[in-house]
């Protein structure tokens, strides 16, 4: 069986979650965006990525973190006939939806958003609790998460949690207000939303230090579900204070890799929905406007 050649692109904090057995494989070409950003100017695809794409007969490009030149980089990959998996939306992609999703001459879609990458082991128990444990009608979803190092990573995380909220509450978000604050390189993004079933929610993403498993609160008419990432990990008392033991995400990533990338033909079955791309673009736009205007911005999402 053919082993696919794969470009993996992401910031160090995300790349470090990929098990060495994957990252150091002979057919894997990792690119650290931290290094790319330092050397790159403008919105042209980063040279190091162009070079890998031009010189290796790749099968798949996986983008684990967003970056401002991502749209043109993805377009380049698709022009070369490569399949592309992104673990979140592409910044400023809404007006390029046709180019990004059009069928190429092999009549197959070439791009998909595979944000299941981030879905965690709590999802199934949560779904079970909501549907089987007298949770009642959903009223409120609140999740706070460390969204990564920069604004775009936090936007990705917010989009991911948006999808998760819809999934857990069993309804579509019909109204969305965005508030964001940036002080230096510190970001604080808040989505306040209402779903078609009248439940409400807050999604908060930050790049301030926060426990890596997040903090979740779900209120139903029948009761409360909550998850505090810090309380659910071993804590070590050290000379420098109390330190939680890091979660090993390697197994989760390994499983995702085997399911989606491993030793099989790369086949992208589902295109991202146009509505989803538009909404995610509007969230990003609203984040920028909120930071600029120090105000609450209604994002005119399509539900």
């Amino acid at each position: 069986m053919k082993v696919p050649k794969v470009l993996i692109c992401g910031y160090e904090d995300v790349l470090s979650q990929i098990p060495g057995s994957i990252l150091n494989g002979p057919s894997v070409f990792p690119v650290s965006l931290s290094q790319v950003e330092n050397s790159n100017q403008g919105c042209a695809p980063p040279e190091s990525i162009v070079s890998i794409v031009e010189t290796n007969h790749l099968d798949l490009c996986v983008f684990l973190s967003p970056f401002y030149e991502m749209r043109n980089t993805v377009l380049l990959c698709m022009e070369k006939g490569l399949r592309v998996t992104t673990i979140g939306p592409i910044p400023f992609a809404e007006t390029f939806w046709r180019e990004l999703t059009e069928l190429t001459n092999d009549n197959k879609p070439h791009w998909r958003i595979d944000d299941d990458f981030y879905f965690d082991s709590r999802l199934e128990p949560l779904k079970h609790a909501i549907h089987h444990l007298d949770f009642g009608l959903p009223v409120y979803y609140r999740e706070i998460s460390f969204g990564g190092l920069n604004l775009l990573s936090n936007w990705w995380k917010a989009c991911q949690l948006y999808k998760k909220a819809e999934l857990l509450l069993g309804s579509s978000i019909i109204d969305l207000h965005v508030s964001a604050n940036q002080t230096g390189n510190k970001i604080h993004i808040t989505l306040t939303f209402k779903l078609a079933n009248r439940s409400n929610g807050h999604i908060i993403c930050t790049n301030s230090p926060f426990n890596e498993d997040g903090d979740l609160l779900l209120i139903g008419t029948g009761g409360v579900l909550d998850y505090d990432g810090l309380l659910n990990r071993p804590l070590i008392h050290t000379h420098r204070g109390i330190k939680p033991v890091s979660t090993n995400k390697g197994a989760q990533v390994q499983s995702w890799w085997e399911k989606n990338v491993g030793e099989k033909d790369i086949c992208i079955k589902a295109l991202p929905e146009k509505k989803q791309i538009q909404n995610q673009g509007k969230i990003l736009e609203a984040i920028h406007t909120s930071i600029r205007n120090r105000g609450i911005i209604q994002a005119s999402i399509v539900s």
């Binding site: 604080h188 306040t192 301030s208 008419t221 409360v224």
Partner: protein
């Protein structure tokens, strides 16, 4: 140090208010003496006997009407625990008589009433305190975190404050479609507006930590109780607040039903700073008390005479170790009177606080954010 004893007049034990929660602090403080209980003559039927019973219990006289009692020379402080719609009138009258004010939660039902109280207090030069917002552990611990400078610059706050009180019931679709009730009327026989009642605590925390709030957005039409749903009056709501520096505060608050939480309901804050993030649990410090008999014999129902539990709480498997916020508030008021200083939460803070709440309600009605300062005539 002054050792003057201050006389307190307790104005009304309306069950729309919390006078009963203040009593113990007044009794316990060596420099406070309860002078009597007073109320208006035109009050709800249940209230006069209740006022009388409290007066008897405390061994003090009961006065009608309020204005005569307020003028008594032995009254220094008037504790106002009447319905929100009556508070500004009583507060203006008491301030005019030169009495210091201890007021439960809100100084008026609208901004005009709030402004009249602020004006009267300024003119009379008396001290004022609203003891409910900034003396509790959630606020004090949050303040401690901020003062430690470990967080760096504050970027945002999220607060969840909910009461696991009242017994929810299924809500039919027709009832759920009631139009959201605009702000203005606060007194209802069977229910309270819960953003006002409970969300107010979360706003108290955020305003303590932020600069002036400049914009508010809110939502509030998911319901637990049919009685709220059929009137379009929220029993649960969410708000987003922005301060003048662009910092974001978010709130979830409501009455979420008995038995939904082991320790009274979520009561927590997350503070986001440039250097770190802090999570504060307002339910701590506490002793956890897991007693077999309480689980085996657990069959608790809210009392029939208090179905929404305005004056009762479900049993909790914890023992609070926190200081009584009312006692701390009383110490602050006495300090302010002795030293001619301000308390931590005056009628001016209460006016701004009400402005934020009203803006939140208008935002829900209009489904758009509302900027502050609020003009009361904002169309709904």
């Amino acid at each position: 140090m002054s050792d003057r004893v201050y006389g307190v007049l307790l104005v009304s034990f309306s069950h729309h208010s919390h006078q009963r929660s203040f009593i113990q602090s007044f009794i316990d403080h060596p420099r406070i003496r309860i002078i009597g209980v007073a109320d208006d003559m035109d009050i709800d039927e249940y209230l006069r006997p209740l006022n009388h019973s409290w007066a008897d219990k405390l061994g003090v006289p009961y006065f009608e009407p309020i204005d005569e009692a307020v003028k008594r020379a032995d009254v220094d402080i008037v504790s106002i625990g009447h319905e929100i719609e009556r508070r500004s009138h009583i507060a203006v009258m008491a301030a005019g008589a030169g009495k210091h004010l201890w007021i439960d939660k809100f100084i008026g039902a609208n901004l005009d009433e709030c402004n009249s109280v602020v004006e009267a207090v300024d003119k009379a030069g008396v001290k004022s305190i609203l003891p409910s917002y900034v003396y509790n552990d959630l606020v004090r611990q949050s303040q401690q975190v901020i003062d430690s400078c470990e967080l760096g610059d504050l970027l945002g706050i999220h607060v969840d404050i909910m009461f696991n009180k009242g017994k929810p019931a299924p809500i039919s679709v027709e009832i759920r479609n009631a139009t959201f009730l605009p702000p203005g009327q606060w007194k209802f026989p069977e229910f309270k507006r819960e953003l006002l009642t409970i969300g107010a605590y979360a706003i108290g925390l955020i305003t303590r930590c932020f600069d002036k709030i400049s914009e508010v957005y809110g939502q509030g039409d998911a319901y637990f109780f049919p009685v709220h749903a059929k009137s379009g009056a929220e029993d649960f709501g969410v708000l987003t607040l922005i301060d003048e520096k662009g910092r974001v505060g978010t709130i979830s608050s409501g009455r979420i039903g008995v038995g939904s939480h082991a320790i009274g309901g979520p009561n927590q804050a997350v503070l986001f700073g440039t250097k770190g993030t802090a999570r504060v649990d307002g339910g701590r410090p506490r002793l956890d008390s897991n007693m077999r008999s309480r689980i085996i014999h657990a069959d608790y129902e809210p009392p029939d005479e208090d179905p929404m539990q305005w004056a009762s709480s479900p049993p909790s498997p914890t023992i609070r170790l926190a200081e009584d916020p009312m006692a701390l508030a009383l110490i602050d008021l006495i300090r302010a009177i002795d030293n001619d200083q301000s308390t931590l939460f005056t009628v001016k803070d209460a006016r701004d606080h009400m402005g934020i709440l009203l803006a939140g309600y208008h935002a829900i009605v209009q489904n758009k954010s509302v900027r502050l300062p609020l003009m009361e005539e904002v169309p709904s």
